[in-house]
Symmetry: C2
Amino acid sequence: MIRMIDIAREVGVSRTAVSFVLNGKHKEMRLSEPIIRKIRETAERMGYVPNELVNTVVKGKSNVIAVISKFSDFILPAIHGCVDEAVKYDYIIKLIPVEKNINEAILKAIKFRVAGIFAISLEPELIDQVDSKFFNYGIPSIGLTPHTGRMMFDQQKSAQKGTEYLLSLGHRNIVFFGTSSDISQEREEGYKKAMTEKGLPLQIIRTEEEEIPEKTDLLLQADPDAVQCSNDSVALLLMHECYSRRIFIPETFSILGFGNIPACRLSAPFLSTVDEPYYQTGRIMFRQIYDLLSGNQKENYEYLCGDVIPRETTVALKQQKGEK
Amino acid sequence: MIRMIDIAREVGVSRTAVSFVLNGKHKEMRLSEPIIRKIRETAERMGYVPNELVNTVVKGKSNVIAVISKFSDFILPAIHGCVDEAVKYDYIIKLIPVEKNINEAILKAIKFRVAGIFAISLEPELIDQVDSKFFNYGIPSIGLTPHTGRMMFDQQKSAQKGTEYLLSLGHRNIVFFGTSSDISQEREEGYKKAMTEKGLPLQIIRTEEEEIPEKTDLLLQADPDAVQCSNDSVALLLMHECYSRRIFIPETFSILGFGNIPACRLSAPFLSTVDEPYYQTGRIMFRQIYDLLSGNQKENYEYLCGDVIPRETTVALKQQKGEK
DNA sequence: CTGAAAGCGCTAACAC
DNA sequence: GTGTTAGCGCTTTCAG
């Protein structure tokens, strides 16, 4: 690796001159144009690459952000969005996986003197284990305390939009088919709100993914116009149950998922769903920490709201009944 | 951030002593046990965190690996595997996205003096643009030249295993339904090999994903026992076409996918497929660059071979005919 | 056991 | 315009 001193010697100037030219600060020391050009050319010719690590050490400021996460297929697209956004602001993302010990991961980030820490997709239990001493280091972080770092996505409102879409299709007898996870319940609230506003009765069936086969029978007894699922997996699994019973969708009833996972575009029939844009959310999350780093503390970020993506599993009630 | 000198002053010893103790080299300078303990305790109490950046600068060796990639949902699980494996060897992964300019990404990696560069999931055209001067820096890299950095996965052999599985089920009239991509053709070769070994006639239908609706009719005319698809998407899309035609699977014919994407476990019926373990492959890729860094150059890594994952879309011929 | 000193590659203030 | 110098936080050698 060639260093500044090497090119200084080659050109026959001081290391300082090289430093200033290469950092675009040559105005502060009126060097002659030819010299400036020669320094640049020589640097290029010798293949000089500045050492960012040293810069970080000297300036005491890095442009690396640690993303601490329990990675899963689920969260990967958000990381993707985060990385893409980071590169625009000339930040680099370092990935630090967490299995059991979150403090180990945080320590690793601090060892590298990262500019900021971004924790994402960690269970509350892990967050509770965070050693509070780390906050003394003054490293801006998001997601290391219980109420920060949530996905910037409004689950309830998005689910409500989903229900309203079903309503707009003429469905009235809508059952919400969901799991008992926190996130599922937030979505359930959206359903409740939309139904209540219309004065329609609530029908909620809670199920774990493994119980879907049995719970499907329960669902069928309700003879719904439409069923709104708390996520795409349960929607797809429900469709699977319908298939084995030779119950056709959307002729028998409409199904709406939530999440817009890739499988929605590969199911038979294609699953209508509410989009949860992980990638976009990842980008917003980056901007959140970026603002934190720049000191532009905006306290309230706009939460993203998902759009309904109509595909083949939802159809107007009239049309459905006609086919029945 | 507290420094070594701070804890040295606190304890009343030399900075050298602190350095040696904290790096576990105190044997080289026989310090008294109480002093050693006091240094450790003080470091802990004051919240000392070593500065890895400086260490890198001083030692001229880092334990950071840059993963340069055009990230996509596809490749994310491989990254995941890579990160998980890296952490075991105490390496950190830095993500550097590439859109158009690969040299910019490489430069960024070199600026940070990474220990190695790992390029993955980049089109050949991008690889061709790599400025050869970068190789002078002697940074170990994989995937920056046309014939390195391929996924360590044997497409052909895996596909062949798939065909053999179909054969073992009693199917003879097997058609290969695939796209014209390079990877699809490798898999096609596996199919050909298995069929040829049995002296069975080859039936291959090439299709792009958009053409699947029309090509399905062609497929149907062949009246196959089983169809082997070049990837899960086309298998799933084929199932979608069958659904709209009310052709039931696996009663009419068996379908085998390739890839084992998450959607396989969410389709109706669940798709049997050949597993392409991206996550595992990512881990192997890390080990590859790790060996390169450690100087243990093994020239030939074992290519992974996928296993058949039987689910609901494949069934023995006898059983199928019985139901027909 | 310790303190001094050189070195890693670079920035930035300063006197010349 | 330049060379010197101090400093960033640390490792490592070496004479005491």
